[in-house]
């Protein structure tokens, strides 16, 4: 048998002169690239995924992870992954899996949109010294409000407000299940969400009891596999989310490989240890908007009318689907663009299905406005939000808030190596191996995630200040304050954005 015909992507190299034989690289690599050879560290570079854990823990800067110069001849058409997947398929007959969002060079619309700023004729605002409102309420808003005079002569709200979820800034953490990520990673998200006054989302793996203290900052999810769903679970958080689809794998279901199902995860999900946890693409009780409505109200009945969110992948017909979802009674609609991350997805699906989130936000916001139902649900936009600028642009296009996952994981050490599906994450994030998850101290890493959220908060305030706006509500759907560069007329038309210079 010859070795795999797909040459390794990276060369893990150790400078033998600098190396002091401390063996930390051996301990740290989750992929078992290194082993001890008696007098030096041996390297099996074919397993290296360039997660850079070893590099960070080498005290002597002896490690370098290089792109393998012999991988395949550079070719702008036949890329490395393309050829490698062919070889893999020839060797196994299987579907190549991948993790994280698509890295293919599709146009990035966020990078072709620029935000306006005030000059001379309209004053900007100094956010450091003037009040700046980022607080956001998620949920249905009444079409109009009525007031009445109270006994004390003061005006008060007469209209009964539907339930609202208050978040301190228009940012939440995207759903990531216990199983796809470690419990410690979920705890980092929960601690940070509570501290920052925002939300985390359990994903579809149930709610581990360790997260109960954070329940006021948690959305619980119900997906086709119904893992861990019972009345306590439905009532545990501030809202319930029905997961229909995910941006990284629209139209296909969840798949948690058996490697990531040890006893604890199996117990939370109520399935056998080591089996593959499968959430098929269709929820077999939902074949229509009417069926969705039935499940939304089954959940509302079971939770005394908590807000229900419906998460879908951004697909071609997203606007019409979103309209149906809103009419079915959803309080929140969660749109996940094709760049969205995943713990495991077939690369062929991740890289070729769905549409960018920027288009989806604009299309859905337009459609709901045209139909006069934009107030009926909040829009959360996700799927590749990399910075507060992306967040501001998403909000200007029409989102009420954005959700981040990959960006949050980078604060825990993730280098976006894309190998989450193996269950070997050296950073202890997308793994259930106890020796790896123990590395992720929830308190310490929550601190870093809180820093990130606060930094984005400041940046968002700076952006609003530059726009001369003192509340994020005034940015929402305010596409007049965006301009496109290098975009064709039709794209500009879909986005509802003028070209720069107009």
């Amino acid at each position: 048998m010859f070795k795999s015909l797909a040459p390794p992507e990276y060369l893990a190299t150790i400078d033998q002169v600098k190396c002091i034989r401390c063996k930390r690289c051996i301990q740290n690599c989750g992929w078992s690239v290194y082993s001890w050879g008696g007098d030096k560290v041996l390297i099996d570079t074919s397993k290296c995924v360039k997660c850079l854990r070893c590099y960070h823990y080498c005290p002597e800067e002896a490690i370098q992870i290089l792109d393998n110069p012999v991988k395949f001849k550079n070719n702008a058409y036949w890329g490395y992954n393309n050829i490698r997947n062919l070889k893999r398929q020839a060797e196994t007959g299987g579907i190549p899996l991948t993790g994280m969002g698509s890295d293919l060079p599709y146009p990035i619309l966020f990078d072709n949109l620029l935000i306006d700023a005030c000059q001379v004729t309209n004053p900007s605002i100094d956010p450091l010294r003037e009040p700046m409102e980022l607080r956001t309420y998620l949920g249905k808003k009444p079409a109009s409000v009525e007031f009445e005079k109270g006994k004390d002569g003061k005006l008060k709200l007469k209209t009964k407000m539907p339930p609202q979820i208050k978040i301190n800034l228009p940012l939440i953490f995207s759903p990531m299940s216990y199983g796809s990520i470690s419990l410690n990673a979920q705890k980092v998200l929960a601690i940070a969400a509570k501290e920052c006054g925002i939300l985390m989302n359990t994903g579809e793996g149930g709610l581990h009891e360790d997260l109960l203290p954070y329940r006021d900052s948690i959305i619980v999810q119900v997906a086709s596999g119904r893992f861990g769903v019972n009345p306590d679970y439905l009532n545990a958080g501030v809202a319930v989310e029905i997961k229909i689809g995910q941006g990284a794998k629209p139209g296909i279901g969840g798949h948690l490989p058996g490697e990531k199902i040890p006893l604890e995860v199996a117990r939370t999900r109520m399935i056998p240890v080591g089996t593959d946890a499968i959430s098929p693409a269709p929820q077999h009780d939902i074949y229509s908007i009417e069926d969705l409505k039935q499940l939304i109200y089954a959940i509302k009945e079971a939770t005394d009318y908590k807000p229900v969110s419906v998460k879908i992948a951004a697909v071609h017909n997203v606007a019409a689907i979103a309209s149906g979802i809103v009419r079915a009674g959803a309080d929140i609609i969660y749109l996940d663009g094709f760049r969205g991350g995943t713990g495991a997805a077939p690369s062929i699906i991740r890289d070729h299905l769905g549409i960018p989130i920027e288009h989806a936000i604009a299309a859905v916001d337009d459609r709901l406005r045209q139909e006069g139902i934009r107030n009926e649900a909040s829009i959360i936009a996700a799927g590749g939000i990399r910075s507060s600028a992306d967040a501001a642009k998403a909000i200007a296009l029409g989102a009420d808030a954005v959700a981040i996952a990959t960006a949050a994981l980078t604060t825990m050490g993730c280098t976006i190596c894309g190998k989450c599906y193996t269950g070997n994450c050296s950073w202890g994030i997308t793994t259930q191996r106890p020796e790896l998850t123990a590395r992720l101290d929830p308190e310490i890493f929550a601190e870093r995630l809180i820093n990130l959220v606060h930094a984005w908060e400041h940046e968002l305030k700076e952006i609003l200040g530059a726009l001369g706006i003192n509340a994020v509500d005034s940015l929402r759907g305010n596409r007049e304050r965006l301009r496109g560069v290098g975009l064709d007329t039709q794209t500009l038309d879909i986005l509802g954005v003028k070209p720069a210079g107009r």
Partner: protein, 245 residues
Amino acid sequence: MLQIDAKGMYYRELNQKVRSAIANGEKEITLKNVNGQYYIGDGLRGNAAITVEGVPGNDLAAFMDGPTLTIKSNAQDNIANTMNAGKIVIHGNAGDVLGYGMRGGTLHILGDVGYRVGIHMKGLKRQSPTIIVGGTAGDFFGEYMAGGILILLGLNEKDPRPIVGDYLGTGMHGGAIYIRGEVDKNLCGAEVGILEPDEDDLKTLRQYLGDYCKDFKLDIEDIMKKGFKKLLPISLRPYGNLYAY
């Protein structure tokens, strides 16, 4: 014992009444003139006994966690959706997608059931959901089953239809299905193995069927006269080889 006349009542009001009665400690409730109201018993906890007269609507006992529901007639779709505990006894036929993601408790149906019954059922040691169907079942019986027990009896010997439809146990990776009589291998999903029940299985069957027979005043010996087949998943990872890493 409380009676609620559901005639012309919207489901929200009806269920609100039931919930507040139970909150006030009511243990026995009869719902009269029920006519398709959704979500009866949805998310209910405790140990009340509720009798339904008339045909209840979809999502009966969704997420239910404890009570006992007795339905004197037929019932519709999505019964026992993600139910956690409790019991439902249906003295008639029931529709599609029963016991979806069911995690515990018991569903007894005297008559026939539709498609996708017992799909995604879960189980964990002592918490094992059970569905027993007296008549026949449609396609996708026990699809994606991960735990619990499904028993299909086909008691109406004059019924010329096959006892179960196609795609039986497709994607099954846990739990067990017992079918009275013979099972056509061609109907089964690729993940399913057909076995002869052993002593322990027969004991299990007698235990579950004893309770079932009591609910419908049937004779367990009549039922046990005919043999059973047991269906188990042949692999914990039916799709383990589908992917390249």
